[in-house]
């Protein structure tokens, strides 16, 4: 079964059985509507059962589903027009990062985002959606252009990470990521980021600093991929499912931590089941948040953004007495005292 996950198979079997009965009804003229209704109720209950209890790893797999809508798919569905712009004006064009000017209900906005390919051929052209430094330089160029013309920036994020390759290192991957984070932090126009699929580490954050950060229900966002986390912890990438759970990388986790402002629901099974519906929900959320940000002056916008990010961190604060005591007790490896946990 193409594009069907193991855990979905009982449901897909049932759906196929219903289709068969429906076909039989038409062909033979025998009324099986009671049987069909019973199976449909069963399918509905199974659907809820399966998708209400998705594990973090199952969500990661949904986020990577080969039919999941890509950045350009969403751009086509959300915006009235899109005029794509190319090149970083320094080294080359990077097809793994797309961007341009789009109309959102008639209003010009700048849209940027990494782009995965559908076919093998397209994936090779787009480097499997893994941008080189040039992609980040292009994104920065377009964001600064948006600032010049006072257009909001919409960043659609679906990226495993920046490309770990020789040329990317030679051309200063780390520097471009640092500069892009700084560039987005300083933008004087409203910026909305939507994590639509994968949010992998610095490669995602480089285009992920926003006044609002939204996230699709089955997207993931983490400091490290589950596979790499599993490799570090157990030297075994096959334990990625366990790592996915430890990393707290789901949209619900990140909303709980206050990193994500709103979770956009997906149809049961994932965004690929109904891209139009997901795009409509994304559009509604983007328009709503933009109109809230439109009321702010540039100073208000920037100070709200910086306050929001400045508070992120989870640490404990010890009193001076505690520090002295703990230093004295350190040799005995005494356990730390009461913790005052800050998780703004």
């Amino acid at each position: 079964m193409n594009g069907v996950f193991e855990w979905e198979k009982p449901l897909v079997e049932l759906e196929r059985r219903i289709e068969e009965l429906q076909a039989f009804t038409v062909k033979e003229g025998i009324d099986l509507s009671d049987e069909i209704a019973t199976l449909e109720r069963k399918a509905e209950s199974l659907r809820r059962q399966i998708y209400a209890s998705l594990t973090p790893w199952q969500r990661v797999m949904i986020a990577r589903h080969k039919e999941r809508p890509t950045t350009l798919d969403y751009i086509g569905l959300i915006f009235d027009e899109f005029f794509e712009l190319h090149g970083d004006r320094a080294v080359r064009e990077d097809a793994a990062m797309v961007g341009g000017i789009a109309l959102l209900d008639g209003r010009p906005v700048t849209v940027i985002g990494p782009q995965k390919g559908r076919s093998t051929k397209e994936n090779i052209r787009r480097n499997f959606g893994l941008p080189h430094p040039e992609g980040y330089r292009k994104a920065m160029r377009l964001m600064k252009q948006a600032e010049k013309f006072n257009r909001p920036v919409i960043s659609l994020i679906d990226v495993v990470g920046a490309y770990p390759g020789i040329e990317a290192e030679e051309r200063g991957q780390g520097v471009l990521i640092a500069e892009s984070i700084r560039c987005m932090s300083a933008l004087t126009v409203p910026t909305i980021c939507v994590i639509t699929g994968e949010g992998g580490s610095g490669g995602a954050l480089a285009i992920g600093v926003g006044d609002r950060v939204l996230m699709l229900e089955n997207a993931w966002y983490s400091v490290i991929s589950p596979e790499m986390c599993a490799q570090i912890l157990w030297r075994d990438t096959s334990r990625a499912a366990e790592a996915a759970k430890l990393l707290r990388l789901t949209a619900a986790d990140l909303a709980e931590f206050g990193i994500v402002d709103e979770v956009i629901p997906e149809p049961l099974g994932g965004a690929h089941r109904d891209p139009e519906k997901v795009a409509a929900a994304m559009k509604e959320a983007i328009v709503r948040h933009l109109s809230a940000l439109d009321g702010l002056s540039k100073d208000e916008l920037l100070s709200a953004r910086h306050e929001k990010y400045r508070k992120i961190g989870a640490y404990t604060v010890r009193t001076e007495d505690e520090l002295v005591r703990l230093e004295e007790a350190r040799a005995e490896a005494e356990a730390p005292g009461e913790e005052e946990v800050h998780t703004d």
């Binding site: 770990p164 290192e169 500069e179 400091v223 961190g313």
Partner: protein
């Protein structure tokens, strides 16, 4: 964050456990007499006191051994006793309830005498007041979690308020995995702290030491007005083993050595540790008019 386990090394063999009287002295290497050690670079046995006297640089081959945060600051400031440490009270939490995380930070605390992988504070360098930020690779590979990010940010904020230059010495495998998304967000926090300091017209010198990788290189470390590196320091974004796995062929061994990164145009100057204080003093002198000279 890149996978940086492959560059993790245990503490070098010449390191001895602190004696009781040295508690609170951080990772300073107080070595008993008569101990010899092998240089990690050339294998030559070196009398430990000579190695310490030469700032843990091998006199034979020039290999720069990794040093802890307290040693680093002690090598740079004029008077370690006058060094005013910032934010000692910030200790790590475990926001993800990551298994064994507290145990690991506790062990590293005992090993380094630091609450986390960093020491920040104010001191004078060649007579010029400056805010210093030193990472400690012996604490969780110098990784940046919430405490490290917060201390870097506060150091830049204090420097901005007091109109002081900042000198940072990253030594880090990247963002700290165990604090998950909180670690990632420290990249933004520290990068913006640099920008605020920069907009006040103040000098920031980033000294890349071995290693400066991933989320630390991809944030404040790469944003210095002037970027210096120690010889042979590993500098890059993706970890070498991640690159090898991705491209499925060996990578040039010196791809991420400071000398290559310098040749690629991302480092202003490579300065041996023994000349570092003189170079920093020289740069502080050029920029003295914009900074406060009050200690």
């Amino acid at each position: 964050m890149s996978k940086f386990r492959d560059i993790f090394r245990g503490r070098p063999k010449y390191v001895t456990v602190r004696s009781q009287s040295e508690e609170g002295q951080g990772s300073r290497r107080e070595l008993p007499d008569g101990l010899w050690t092998k240089c990690e670079g050339c294998g030559t046995p070196i009398y430990h006191k000579d190695l310490a006297k030469n700032l843990f640089v091998c006199e034979k081959c020039g290999f720069h051994h990794q040093i802890g945060a307290r040693d680093r600051i002690a090598q740079i400031v004029d008077d370690m006793d006058a060094f005013e440490e910032f934010d000692r009270e910030l200790w790590p939490a475990n926001p993800l309830q990551f298994p064994d995380y507290e145990k690991k930070t506790q062990a590293d605390r005992e090993k380094t005498g630091l609450s986390d992988a960093i020491m920040t504070g104010k001191g004078t360098v060649g007579g010029y007041p400056a805010v210093l930020i030193a990472f400690d690779f012996f604490f969780r590979g110098g990784s940046m979690g919430s405490v490290v990010g917060e201390k870097v940010t506060r150091a830049f904020e204090r420097a901005t308020e007091q109109r002081l230059p900042v000198i940072a010495f990253p030594a880090s495998g990247g963002a700290r995995m165990q604090e998950g998304i909180f670690s990632l967000m420290q990249m933004q926090k520290t990068a913006w702290a640099v920008e605020t300091h920069s907009r006040a017209g103040l000098l920031y010198i980033s000294v890349l030491t071995d290693p400066t990788l991933a989320g630390v290189y991809g944030s404040f470390a790469a944003l210095g007005d002037i970027i210096i590196a120690e010889p042979k320091a590993t500098v890059g974004f993706a970890g070498p083993s991640v690159i090898t796995e991705t491209i499925r062929r060996p990578i040039p061994p010196d791809l991420q050595s400071a000398e290559t990164v310098f040749a690629n145009g991302f480092i202003d100057r490579i300065v041996p540790r023994t000349e570092l204080k003189a170079a920093l003093t020289q740069l502080l002198r050029y920029h003295a008019p914009v900074h406060s000279q009050r200690v």
